[in-house]
């Protein structure tokens, strides 16, 4: 079991958002979490990443059998959890390549390995760039500074490619992207999918799932999962809309 979330309750500024969220993710699986605005999708991602704006009021999260909620954000990352932000922050003054190398070395250090040589890292980066199909000069720019929406999202996937996480949570990675950018991002994710890692896709629309095939689809309404199923569930949701799905599944638990 890669990730085991049990009865998770979380709030922000005193307002309850997650109200008994449950999810199990096994290695090699892709889970899609879909929900209307305000259902708690982003809160889930941020709580798992350790954003201090949110308070966990109940429940537990086990990552590879260990308590995730006890760890600081950087320790969660080092343990292998990666979140691709919905709105990646811009950091002028910090070079993209340097930043990636620092993060990569932090992980190596954690694993007891030696820091990577800058030249070797350059080679590694060149390889990884192919995953997101971005040009070299991407690396010369500052982290997300002056990037278009699509470029920011691809930069997140590039980071994922470099850090090779065990669990990747993609928070509305498809939002704000046109079809081409969406395809590129999906392609990247598919390349990185492996039998020994897990992916959680948080999304509002089903179209991302045309490109990344989920093993499980869950519908999140008002802070908890109301229904779960396979890929067809997403298509059904697309046809009927959240209201009908939410209304018709009242009382059902996923």
């Amino acid at each position: 079991m890669l990730l085991d979330i049990r009865n998770l309750h979380a709030s922000i500024n005193g307002k309850d958002i997650l109200k008994g969220f449950n999810l199990q993710v096994k290695a090699g699986e892709v889970h899609a979490i879909m929900g209307p605005n305000g259902s708690g999708k982003s809160t889930l991602a941020k709580v798992l990443a350790g954003d201090s704006h949110y308070e966990v009021t109940k429940g537990e999260v086990l990552f590879q059998g260990k308590n995730l909620l006890d760890l600081e954000p950087e320790d969660r990352a080092l343990a292998g959890v990666f979140m691709a932000f919905q709105y990646p922050v811009e950091i002028p003054g910090v070079n993209n390549a340097s930043f990636l190398r620092m993060a990569y070395n932090a992980k190596r250090k954690f694993q007891g390995k030696e820091e990577i040589d800058p030249l070797d890292f350059e080679e590694l980066l060149k390889e990884r760039l192919k995953v997101v199909d971005m040009p070299q000069d991407f690396l010369k720019r500052n982290v997300n500074h002056g990037f278009s929406g699509g470029e920011k999202k691809r930069n997140e996937i590039l980071q994922m490619a470099v850090l090779d996480p065990t669990l990747a949570i993609l928070d509305e990675t498809d939002s704000g992207l046109d079809i081409d950018a969406l395809r590129e991002v999906a392609k990247g994710v598919n390349i990185l999918k492996r039998p020994d890692n897990g992916i959680i896709l948080i999304t509002h629309y089903q179209r991302l799932l045309d490109y990344i095939t989920p093993d499980h689809v869950h519908i999140l309404v008002d802070g908890r999962i109301v229904r779960s199923g396979g890929k067809e569930l997403a298509l059904e949701l697309e046809k009927k809309g959240y209201d009908e799905m939410g209304a018709s599944t009242n009382g059902h638990r996923g």
Binding site: A49, G50, F85, V89, P92, G93
Partner: protein, 447 residues
């Protein structure tokens, strides 16, 4: 009165003396006249007090109350290049070194200048190019508002003269090193006078390093008058890394011709008290001035940056971008004024200052001011003072960087943004190293 008596007496006795006026130059008369004007101006102004808007926060007592030693022969025998090597940029640079205000031929190196370019110590230039200098020197001596600049005018013994003829491009950087070497028992007081005149469509890059021996105690009073010709480009970078006991006061006046471009940088790291006054006068339309500053202060360092962009004619653009990182008990002031005169239509100005405070004992004062007398303009300014962005910290931590390292990365990024596009490359590289060192100490953490 006790305060300032010593400095004032020094000025009477040492500087404004007949000996100085009798210097062997064929043009002594006109220069003596300018000096006399400057002296009268100083008599009228006196030393600045806290009541003056531009001197509200600075405590001048350490400077005015110090007993400076006679700086006539201080450091003339100084020849240890190791202390100044760190300021060298490249093999082909044009280097002039001054020790306590005295030109050191041994340490300097000027060669292969394009024809027509004059790059010499000012004292020698007054002999060889007196008439040329006379046309530009001391233009605003009678209306000077900064007493220290007036003092420099009648007290300086040497400095720099740089003249670039029309259409000449100087590829090699002009690297000036002003070194202070006094000590606690005999702190030195010296002046440097800089006059730069560039011709139409010329290009040159000037770097002035304010340096000092470790722990040296001195007062470096530098005044510069810089005329940028029509269509010319000039970079003027001040690298101030004085010792922790140093006082540095620089007053720079820039006169921009039409279509000219000016880029300045005031980089301050350490020093006890540093005050930079930069005044830009747009003399012709379509001038462009980009003024940047970065100060990294710790312990009890203080920097006072005064920047003025005077849009007196239409269609000029000015940009100000200043950042401060303060730790320990450091103090900074950013006092900026953009003045748009009546009729200066289509003036475009943008001021931005950002300060990062790393300790609760540091202090920041910002005064971004606008005086606008005409309507068809775009004038914007912004100032922020605070700490690192929580979102940015979280982003880095979510990628495995510890809290401390994330802080250091963001603080370096904050500082380095100012020098992002800086050239020449060796200078940028030096600055990056110095920024890294300073911030590691300030945040007490190594990357």
């Amino acid at each position: 009165m006790a305060i300032g008596a010593d400095l004032k007496n020094r000025i009477y006795r040492e500087s404004f003396s007949k000996e100085l006026l009798k210097k062997k130059t064929p043009n002594a008369d006109w220069l003596a006249e300018v000096r006399r004007t400057a002296y009268e101006r100083f008599e009228k102004l006196g030393f600045p007090t806290r009541e003056l808007e531009g001197w509200k926060y600075i405590n001048l007592e350490p400077i005015l109350g110090a007993s400076f030693a006679a700086s006539e022969n201080n450091g003339l025998e100084f020849s240890d290049t190791r202390m100044i090597e760190k300021y060298f940029l490249s093999e082909n640079e044009q280097r002039l070194v001054f020790v306590n205000g005295v030109y050191s031929k041994n340490l300097s190196s000027v060669k292969n200048l394009p024809p027509g370019v004059i790059l010499r110590d000012l004292a020698a230039s007054l002999v060889s190019h007196g008439d040329l200098i006379k046309r530009y020197f001391g233009r605003d001596a009678s209306s000077e508002t900064n007493s220290f600049s007036s003092i420099n005018t009648f007290s300086f013994k040497d400095g720099l003269f740089l003249y670039i003829p029309d259409k000449v491009v100087v590829d090699s950087p002009i690297n000036i090193i002003l070194l202070g070497t006094g000590d606690n028992d005999s702190p030195s007081l010296f002046y440097s006078r800089i006059l730069i005149v560039t011709g139409e469509c010329s290009r040159v890059r000037v770097i002035v390093n304010y340096a000092g021996l470790p722990d040296a105690r001195y007062f470096n009073n530098t005044a510069a008058e810089i005329h940028v010709g029509e269509g010319a480009c000039l970079d003027y970078f001040q690298i101030e890394r004085g010792s922790k006991n140093s006082y540095q006061i620089a007053t720079n006046r820039f006169y921009l011709g039409k279509f000219s471009t000016l880029e300045t940088l005031a980089f301050t790291e350490g020093g006890a008290i540093t005050r930079n006054e930069e005044i830009i006068e747009f003399g012709g339309e379509k001038g462009f001035a980009s003024l940047k500053g970065l100060s990294l202060l710790n312990d009890e360092s203080q920097v006072y940056n005064h920047v003025e962009a005077n849009h007196r004619v239409p269609n000029c653009t000015s940009r100000q971008f200043y950042k401060n990182v303060l730790a320990g008990k450091a103090k900074s002031e950013f006092n900026s004024l953009v003045r748009v005169s009546r009729g200066a239509q289509k003036s475009d100005s943008n001021q931005l200052s950002k300060t990062l405070l790393l300790s609760d004992t540091a202090e920041s004062h910002s005064r971004p001011q606008l005086k606008i007398d005409t309507d068809d303009v775009s004038c914007v300014h912004g100032a922020t003072v605070g700490q690192l962005e929580k979102d940015e910290l979280f982003y880095l931590r979510s990628r495995g960087l510890s809290k401390e390292i994330a802080r250091l990365v963001l603080t370096s990024g904050f500082a380095e943004e100012v020098i992002q596009d800086l050239e020449p490359a060796p200078l940028k590289s030096h600055l990056k190293d110095w920024i890294g060192e300073a911030l590691e100490i300030a945040t007490e953490r190594k990357i």
